[in-house]
Every structure is written in C-alpha cells, then in structure tokens.
Symmetry: D2
Subunit: 340 residues, 4 copies
C-alpha cells in the first residue's frame, strides 16, 4: 500500500499516521518518488485485509493506493527512481557504463586467481568473480576451496583493487563469506532458499540474485522483496538463462526479460551469458545482445586456459574476448542510451 | 563403479580390495543385488579418472563395471533390489499397499490438527502431514507456527498413532524438527539446497524429497544421491508437478515420470496431486491415475473445511474424498500388481 | 451467446427469434441441455459487439447468456450433454466401455496390415489404425503407401469388420481418404492447419483431432470449434503428449489434462500413449493411468514385430500387451465409473 | 553424404559417379564450398543404408563424408558459403545491411496499406509486409481480405517500389498468392504443413519460414530442407518466439538461437520482434538486441494507428519507432560486423 501525504503535513499528523500503520503490525518506508515534493510512504506486510479508507481519512493524507503487483519493494510502483548500487567505487545502474564482472568459475589456486584478476582488469573488468563454494549437481566432485579460496580472492583484490563477487550457498556461511566479499552471489538453485535470503537481508553488502531457472518474473521479484524486506536494499537482478524445451544450449538465454525487468523493477539488471550458453563460442553473441538491450552489467566466466579448469571449462572465454566485449559496450553505449 | 567379487573371495583379498579403493579417496558399499551369492561392491566418489583394469586384476575380483548414469546411489544399476522404507510400522515400497499421507497444508491450531488427524485416520491415511514451517513466495504472509506447530503434531501423533511428516527448509532446523517428525519433507524449492541435503544425509529419519519443478530425472536422482552419500539411505522420491508452458493448473502433473523412476531407481515413489493440480476438483482424478501407475504412496492435502485454511485452501480435499481414493486404491491394487 | 426460450414458446415467436439472430450474420443451433424441457439456442459467430439486451427483450426469450470461454462449440457451457460418437457400431464417449484403436504406425504391405488387424481384433481392439500418409520431419524418408495403403486398410476392414482410422495431412486429400476411412485422424502438426480443418468441417465422417504439442487447452478446443463450426459435430479430442523441458521421453504425456478436458468439453477424450512415451516399455503404464483417469478411448501403435517396422518401431507394443491393457480396462472400469 | 572429387576429375569419371548415386534413387547437387577448387557433391535422400566405401573407391573420388546432422541441405556442413537471397534488388544475407520488412498485421483497405507503405518506406523499410489471409485461433473472426488484399498490396508495391511479403496458409493458394507476392511467408503454425512446404519447394519465389513455437532448431532446419529439397533454395529462417513456461509476453523471444542458427545454417536469419513480444513497448528493445546479434533482417508489424487495427493492434509500432530502429541498425552495424 502507498500513502501520499499532503504537501506540508505537520509533524503531529505524520507521527500519528506512522503510528496507525505500525498498529497493524506493518512496517513503513519513506519513498523516493518522482512527483515533486510530496512525501510518499510505502507500507510493508500483508495489507490485503486493510481498508484504504481507514487511512485516507486521517489528517495529512492526500491519497492511498494499493500496489497491484504481488511483488512490492522491488517494483517501480513502490519505488520509481532506478536504484544505483555502489561497490568499491563502481556504480551499477541506470546512467552508468555497463559494468563487467569477470573471473573464473572456481578459484583453484592463488596463482590462478591472481593471474586472471590482472588479465581481466587489463581488459576492462571492474569486478572480480570467482567461486569458493561451488554447487555441484552430483556428489563426489570438486566443491571449491572454501575459505582458502576467499583468502586468495582477498589477495587478488588487494593487488588489483577490483572488488570481489563470490557465491554463498547457505545461511551458515553468510558471516564468513561476508568478511571477504564485496557482493554476495546467490545462485539460481537458491533463489527461494528463504533462510539464506533472510540472512542476506540482514547483511550490509549488496546481493546479486540470480533468477531461478523456471521462476516467473513476479516470483523472481518476490525473492528480491524478501531481501529488501530484511533491510538490504542493494539487490542486483541477474538473468542467467531459463529451462525450456530447447536443450541445445545449457539454458535458454532469457534476453527477452530485459525490457520486462526494466519496466517492472527499479533494481539494476545483470546478465550472465556464460551459464545461459554453456559454450564459449556463443557467449560473445549473447553478451552483445544484452548490451544492446541496455543491461547495467554482465558477469562472464573468464580464464586464461579454460581447458585446464576444474569446472565449467566449456563456457569460459579468454581475457582477450572479454576485452572485445568491453570495447563493443563502450562503442555502442551512446546509441543504446540515445534511444532509451 | 561396481566391483563383483569372485565367489568365495577370502578375507585377505577382500580387505586388500577395500584398501585399494579407499586409497583413492573413495568410499565403498556392500550392495544387495539379485545375481545369486556373489558380493558386489559399489564405489562412491569421482571414478572418472580411475582405470577399471587396475581393479580387475586384483586377486578375488571377477568383474569391474562403470555406472553409466550420472546418478549412482539411487540408481537400479548400483542397487537392484527395490528399497522399502519403514516408518512407525508403515512400510512404503514395492510389494506393499499404497500408502496415504494426508493432513492440512499448515498446522494452524491444536484443535485443527487433532481433528484432521482423526478424520484422515478414519478414512485410511496412515501418515499425518502438516506444515510447521511454510515457504511463501512473497514476504509478509503466514509462515507457519514453527515449533508450536511441531508440538501440536506430536500431540496428534500420540492420540492417533499416526507417524508424522513435516517440511524442513534449512539446515539449521534439522536438529529441532528431527526431534518431532518421523519423516523430513524437502520441498521442490530446496531440492538443490545442498547444505540442507548434507545435513539430512547425517540424520537418522527418512527423507521425502520433492522433485524440483524443472529438474530432469537425472538431476532429481543426483539430489537423492547427495542424501544417500551422507549416510541416509531412506529416501522417498516425490513427484509433485513440473513447470511447463501449460499454466492452466498450478503445475503440470508429472505422472509420465512414474515408469521412468521405477525403471531407473530402487527408491519408493510418492505422488503429490495437491500441488500439481492446485485445485480440489482435479485431485481425485490425478490421484487415481497415479495409483494405476503403481506409485508406492500419495501425499494429499486434506482439511475438514478448506475455505477456512490460511494457505492452499483451493487445493485441499475433504476427508471423505480421501476415503474414496483409499477405497479405489484397495480395489484396483490387485489389478495394478497383477500386470506389473 | 446462449438464448433460453420460455417454456412453451410459440412458433411465431420462435421463428422471429431465429430471424433476428440470422439478421446479424450469425448461425444458430438448437442445443441439448440438461435443464428440463426448455429450448436453448446457441448462437455462433462473433457476438462480441451484440448486446444481450436486444435479444432478451424479444417475446418468448427467458434468458440470454454470454459464453465466457474463447472456445464455444466444443465447450460444456454451450453443450452440456456429453457427446457420444458412433462409428461402425462402436460407441465412443461417456457411459461406454473404453474403446481401443490399435494397429501399426504405417501400413507397409497387405500381409502386414491383414495380420495385425486380425491380431489386434483378437486382443480386444475395436478400431484399426494404420497410416497411409506419414508425416516425416526430414525429407527423404518413407512417407507411406498413400492410396495403396488405403486399399489394404479397406481390405482389412472387410475381413475383420473393424472400422478404420487413418491420418489426413492436406485438404487436397480429404475427398480421397474419406472414401476409405471411417475416422479422419489429424496429427499434432496439423492442429492449426485451418484449410484442412475447414475441409473436415464439411466432411461426414468423425475426426480425431490430436492436440498440438504446445497448444493450450483453449487453443486445442478452438481448433475443435473450427471443425464443428463447419458442420461436423463428431470430433474426438486426442491427447498425445506435449513439449516440455523434460526430453527423456519422446513427449511429456499430458495425462494431467484429462480432468481439465472432461470439465471444459463435451467431446470424447482419446489418449495416445505411443507417441507420448516414444518407447514401448512405458506404453502400458501410461495407458493404465489414462484408463484410470477415465478416458473414452486409447489409440495404440501395435505390431507383431516392431523391429521390422519402417517407422516408430521403438514405440509399438505387441498384440498380447494390448490384450493385457484391454483386460485391465475391463477389470477397473467399474471402479473408475463408480467414483466419477 | 558429401563426395569430394579429385582435382581435375575427368568427364567420364564424373558422369559415372553421378550415375552411381542416381542408381540408388538419390539426387545429387554440385556444392559451393570454401576449400579451393575441388568439386564437392551433395547427395540427397536417405543415405543411412549406403556404405561410404562403395563410393570412395570409384575413380575420381577423393573423399566421402557423412553429414552428421539430421538436417542436410540447410546446413553449413552441406553448404559452407552463406546464402544471400535477392528480391526486387534487395539483398538479404551476410555482408549486407540489416533488411527491414514492415507493414500492418493485416491489409484492411486500399487506403490503409497505401499510407503504411509510404510511411514505412520513408522510415527505411525496404520490403512491405501485410497479411491477406490471416490465421485465427478461433472461428468467427476477421480472416483477411484474401485476393482483394493482394490487389491492394500490388498497388502499394507499384507506388512505392517496395517488394511484398505476405502469408500463405495452404497449398491450394500458392499459385494465386505467387502471382502477387515477392516472398511467401509461412507462419509458425504451418512450419510442418508438408503439403504446403512441398508446393513452395516448386515455387520460384523466396520463402520466409517461421520457426514453429516448439520446434527444435534441427526440426526447423528439417522443414527448410523440405523446401530446398523441392528445388527452391531461397529460404529465409525467421525466429518469432517460442512457447515456454513464461507467459508474461506473447511468446518467449528466441534471441538465444541467433548464434546457433548462424553456426549451423547458411541461410539468412530474420527476427520478428512483434509476435515474440506481443506488446508494442517491448518491440524496440527486442529488435535492438537482434540487430546486435547480427540478424540479416527484421520483420516488424507497423501501423500509423495501431488501436484502429482489426488484429494485433497491441503489438504494432508506429512508423517513427521503426525509423529509430533503422537508424540504430545503421549506427551499430559497423561494430557488429567488426567483431563477427
């Protein structure tokens, strides 16, 4: 529910209004919206049984509106101004250049991540990715270096200055990983791991939330709402391919959802071409399309020698291919923005 | 990898064989297979780099075979004899009557669960279901009574004698829920929550694992492998509908997968018609088809007054409808088995 | 639009009512509905711009209702009484035993079809299937014996007394095939071949219409409407599997749609387990589920030696397996009907 | 099967080779391939039972290879050089500027099509689209002006000089429509209407073949093969959205398939953003992504006043929006090509 206060509402009426909302066990946010200087309040929680009239007749209230979508906090109706997430000096969101996050699927050794960090930085990446905990579909495979991997990532960050993004798979590891990473990555398998989302809602670092492979956009934004509802507003929405009848690529790249997310949500949009394609030679093509679609960032698996990698070797590109994509983005960004 | 020992292998050779396997960081299981009196060993872990020859030349070894499927421990190749899971005197699996698990979506009060427990027992249910922790797609909705709900379930169990099944959503709650429940239920959203699966692998109670809504059968069995690999062999495979283009029902009931699971896995198969259909009037029809398909059990949301329920009201059936399904199962079971 | 006439409407008012409807370029049907002795009229054509008031004020009119679904003529709202299609003495529809249509994928020789016809008849089939025109995904493969195949089918019919069903793929062949067949079969690929549907709407023989592999139920019934709208009311709805992410079977058997079609349409429902499964060993299981779901008939590819067949060998069952299915249907039909 | 002749094969050996192939009931094509000056022959038909050895030992034969994909004639393996289709002076294919085909969903009147033709030409379209026969999911709706529509299209062509593309839905209309149109359009519903494809294989004008909404790429190319096998090599492959679980847009835009088609086929690729999106505001975004992906052309529903249209109003864009897309294409084409 959205409440628009009258221009110049006095402190007494404002306090009473807040009190009325909280009386129903609901939370209230002061929103940044576009329409001039009026104060808008966003009411969080189950408002289905409230009457809007009860609130609209309070002194100082100009208008009360229901939010029609199932998702609320991540939606444009609740929050019109596009969110810009800042991490280590890098700004991700509308009005800023496309951000490239790059690095290996998994951190495998200190040498490997140091070398990749330097090479992707040289090619234009501004955030370093690398998995320390790796989800594996079948037991008995390499599951990452765990904390050792985090230590190497931290060292790569110190040397290159690149902020880090790494995956967290359990509520029990949020505290530990949070001590090292700059952005938490939540994989598609955990998009509805509510215990994890709740823990991340309490964290102070941004969260890159990947779309579940069969999640409707509403459900995806519902998961983002869960994190924001916990208090963490810095959520990045990441498209990474969906499951469809066409199994010729690893997943079906959901580029079609870019305009949909832009219209419905104020959060930055990231695209992951690596997991969508599942094969190196299609990654640049998918990435270029996402750039032309106006995404705010890309996260791309990159390795100097993919064939040596312990996982996802088939889909990692070379640093020089990354560089070409960065160049492509720089060259067409003006065109993409001119039309938007 | 499967190793067939020579008939009458001596203790020394057997011990040496086990030692050889474990030297590679692999685990070994003694398997129950159908072919007479030979001892078969199942080797767990990443065997892709091992040579079968290395083992086949050891004294006492008759044959070494690779398991061709990606899943292993839950597969028929690894374990030919159908697994029967026993819980509180109820046997679930091949050769036993179709088991009915019934109860409300969520435990809402002591009175509610006590009344439903008695009514579903009267109609032929032998296991009581009821959610104490409820996953909700959007924040701000009823998420279950938590431990209070477990207490009520335990009381209903004492009064009716019905074993309990309830959902666990986080590794952090396995210990607590395990003190009350007889079967852990893992929802579709958590099918690849590996931290949870690993914790359940260490638990002593059976796990009903629901298929993820876009999981291939191989991937589903990979998740079951994860639990078995942890040491818990009592896994029930639950089909509950998949996501397809047809959104006219809540999910697309995956009845087609019943013969596939029967062929590929030795684990018991449960069908959940409630979440598949999402509407009460289709539940009996889907349930009857699953019974004719030869499932080992059904889990059905049942309530004396669905319209009063705090969640899933639209898909819960009445106890008398449950009774008709139990009767249908008893009447056709002979036919289903005759042909099998 | 549905018009309910007052009880005992006189001839003059009735004639005027019909005239009014036809004045708008619409067609009108006298419907058989359940509510006592009132006359109901169904109005066909685009009624979106008509006002119901215009008709409800006419003398002799008791009520005017809009049909809310996009499909009309095939819907229960328009036509409540279940349709029974009769062909060569065989009745297909509610209240009649499950009908078995069986035979080879393709007619390959006179000997082959004669032998199969006799064997499937012996096992309980009452209609003979066999393709004379075969749709093939890639050019350069066997496309059927064409008219020669029809001649053999006709001979098999004379010898066994079994009515015939065979596929028609083009409007240009409706006349020729109609001279031989008792039921026209329209494949999934042609579900929206409107030129063909229109031609079949003018034909005098029943049409078995297969669901397109990604057609929503509404769209499927829209295609049935097209045939009925042309004047041919004898349409059989055939479920044969849909395309989903799970490609482990040829198609995903859409058993879930059986209760949906029963509720929405008055037309008989047929299930084709052969094309759904794509492999012989799953066919009986899928067929048994469909029988328990209450389908009015099954169409099953059957061959005395599937491995010799020129197409679809992998999914054809043996005549004796067909016999077991017929027996299963006879044995549980009483149970299926008791509960319905 | 591909046969590579020895350099300088003499006429006698060449003739004998052709004879050998044709003896097996197979057809043979002289291929344009990249590897220097050798002659390559493509053998069409079912080669599965032929032995490659039989041919490789013939005098003048250097090598015999099997085509491993199920599709052949439309594949790069069979025909390496990218096909460029020319129609009315417009070249469609690799190395040529992105071609814009635009116009209304349906031709509704002479005035309408004349005005739209002029406006889209002014904005940079080089081919005029407009439906004279319209497929409709439910009976009783506007199905196009039929031949009258063709007459108006022809007039618009005379006035503007724009070649025409219009849909053909039945083999029976190929001759009539072929008298007016420059390109035949085959809709997704008819992608496997073999009678129609066969008739178009005999036609002399290019065919734009839309991908069926659940067709795998192999199956799509199989349909293209059917047309080429009939003798018509000028096939344009059109992506127009597929059916997936996500129903928030009319279809799921299959942009992901662009790199796949480019790799597998030599035929030009067209993208249709209008039917994919189903809503006007997403069309430019999808179109821009397709351009960045390197498609050879776009077909976009365009109307000066979409709200007046008899069909597809919601998805038609305005001529000025088309102009912006043309400009975007011109501005980034250099970048797209530089990297390719």
């Amino acid at each position: 529910m959205l409440i628009k206060c009258e221009e110049g509402i006095n402190d007494e009426n404002y306090a009473r209004l807040i009190q009325e909302v909280e009386k129903h066990g609901l939370k209230v946010d002061k929103l940044s919206r576009l329409e001039g200087i009026s104060i808008w309040l966003g009411v969080r929680g189950d408002c289905t049984k409230l009457s809007t009239q009860e609130f609209s007749k309070l002194p100082g209230v100009e208008d009360v509106q229901r939010v029609s979508s199932k998702f609320k906090l991540s939606g444009r109706q609740y929050h019109q101004v596009s969110t810009v997430v800042e991490v280590g000096g890098v700004k991700i969101g509308e009005g800023h250049p496309t951000v490239f996050m790059a690095g290996p699927c998994a951190v495998e050794s200190e040498e490997q991540i140091m070398r990749i960090a330097k090479e992707v930085k040289d090619q234009g990446a501004v955030i370093l990715r690398g998995g320390a905990w790796k989800p594996r579909t079948y037991p008995g495979h390499f599951e990452g270096l765990k904390e050792e991997g985090l230590v190497y990532l931290a060292k790569a960050k110190r040397e290159t200055g690149l902020p880090i993004i790494t995956e967290v798979m359990s509520s029990r590891e949020v505290e530990l990983i949070g001590r090292y990473t700059d952005i938490f990555q939540v994989g598609a398998r955990n998009m509805q791991n509510y215990d994890l989302l709740d823990e991340l809602g309490k964290a102070s670092k941004p969260v890159l939330l990947k779309r579940g492979t069969d999640a409707d956009i509403d459900v995806f934004l519902g998961a983002a709402d869960r994190i924001i509802d916990g208090g963490n507003k810095n959520v990045l929405l990441c498209l990474r391919g969906i499951t469809t009848f066409d199994r010729s690529q690893r997943y079906t790249a959901d580029l079609y959802a870019i305009p949909d997310l832009k219209r419905k949500s104020h959060l930055p949009i990231i695209f992951d071409p690596s997991h969508a394609a599942g094969r190196r030679d299609y990654v640049p093509s998918l990435a270029r399309m996402a750039i032309a679609g106006g995404v705010d960032g890309l996260i791309i698996e990159t390795h100097y020698c993919p064939s040596e990698a312990l996982c996802d070797g088939a889909q990692m590109i070379l640093p020089k291919d990354l560089g070409e994509l960065v160049q492509f983005a720089r060259n067409i960004e003006k065109e993409v923005r001119r039309i938007k």
